[in-house]
Symmetry: D2
Subunit: 140 residues, 4 copies
Amino acid sequence: MDGFRFSTDLKVRFNETDAQGVVHNSAYLVWFEIARIDYLARFPGGYKGLVEEHDVDVTTIESYVRYRAGCRFDDRLRIWARTTDLRGARFRFEYAIERLTDPAGAVAEGWTAHACVDAKTLKLLRMPVWLAERLAELEL
Amino acid sequence: MDGFRFSTDLKVRFNETDAQGVVHNSAYLVWFEIARIDYLARFPGGYKGLVEEHDVDVTTIESYVRYRAGCRFDDRLRIWARTTDLRGARFRFEYAIERLTDPAGAVAEGWTAHACVDAKTLKLLRMPVWLAERLAELEL
Amino acid sequence: MDGFRFSTDLKVRFNETDAQGVVHNSAYLVWFEIARIDYLARFPGGYKGLVEEHDVDVTTIESYVRYRAGCRFDDRLRIWARTTDLRGARFRFEYAIERLTDPAGAVAEGWTAHACVDAKTLKLLRMPVWLAERLAELEL
Amino acid sequence: MDGFRFSTDLKVRFNETDAQGVVHNSAYLVWFEIARIDYLARFPGGYKGLVEEHDVDVTTIESYVRYRAGCRFDDRLRIWARTTDLRGARFRFEYAIERLTDPAGAVAEGWTAHACVDAKTLKLLRMPVWLAERLAELEL
């Protein structure tokens, strides 16, 4: 997937399918989150450390999914993720989902927009410099 | 349903079905919990009040489901619930699920076992007398 | 909510919350679908009839959510829904979510884009005239 | 875990937690299913092959979970699984869940009871001999 440097793999769970025989549209947001968490796990402490040690909470303020082809039970998927648009408290993740058994292009794409907030007051909080720098490094 | 005095109704959600065309086995535990919460909502403050005002947390320590007939998207269900076996910190809920469009007996049954714990320390906590008395009244 | 004529109500389920104490971002797509299904239930046969009697399947091709305020366990929500942009096989649903206990504006908004497909071949299928006419009537 | 020969690992997903800060009780049934599917994946074709090539469907008729300690976001878990009680159409899976970062015994245990049914008629179907033999071999 062009422009992506990070990905995480998963296998479609049976409970993620619905009676149309394909994955329910809400599961993609769960997969995006898994990719986000694995992306951030490369920092010391990861996402948990971010929250627990730095009192920074990351909220989701927007999400968008483009569904291109239905995913089925047991499909092996690769979720690509990258950060973009860091500005003050806000930043975005972009995603592309590829089916490993049938790599004919993305089966889905999407993005989520986030804001850093103070874990106690929930007020907007400029992204900590160390985090902004690490994200910038990762996507250079 | 014999021996039950309380029930709550719901409609099967599309995302609760799976690729076998019927409801996924894990959804029944979600429905049991909905019935539990609606059952307790008859107390002042309900389940939230229990936790927030009385510092009592209710944990689930066991769950059992007997699946008798597959439920399908859009089925109207009635979830019957009752409390039983109050002893110290512990008590149980029993459930029966009936399909309203086809009331030929329970489509599922089950029970969950719970313990009252201190919301802060998570230590076992004898059920508050007022709660034990209310539960006993409700099931007389 | 301005411009909406249809809504459906629900209560936040405990399992829809996550460890941040608010509803998980993926649950909103489940609620949008519930509103869609209830919206279509006003047709004879509803969504199920559409699929089972008319061999029309409705796929989701895009989804977007704008999260404005966290929803919490037991919140009473009203999900507003309307159809828009009917063109050939494609159409959209728009949504706004209001908290009934705190009606200070939408806690979330969003839209989903859909296509009618043949339930067997999954090929794009112009929306049946009777359906397009009913949708147009509902939103006049 | 005594008596188990098969296990599969997973990491707790954020959406599997609830507002009590621990994993929701219904997620354990999803994990049991993942273990079941991975267990059966050692057969040619796996669970999908069982259904698609042999017209055998496996239904869940009972489930039981004993929750011993709350699991948290990002916990690494090992789900142990074994089959038992093969009799005619029926058989059971037993499970134990261990936290890899804190291997002080099972955080949960449980079992599910299943029946083989004809994938078309849903009538009970004696377990195919080849499958019974493979299961017996695996657990010798």
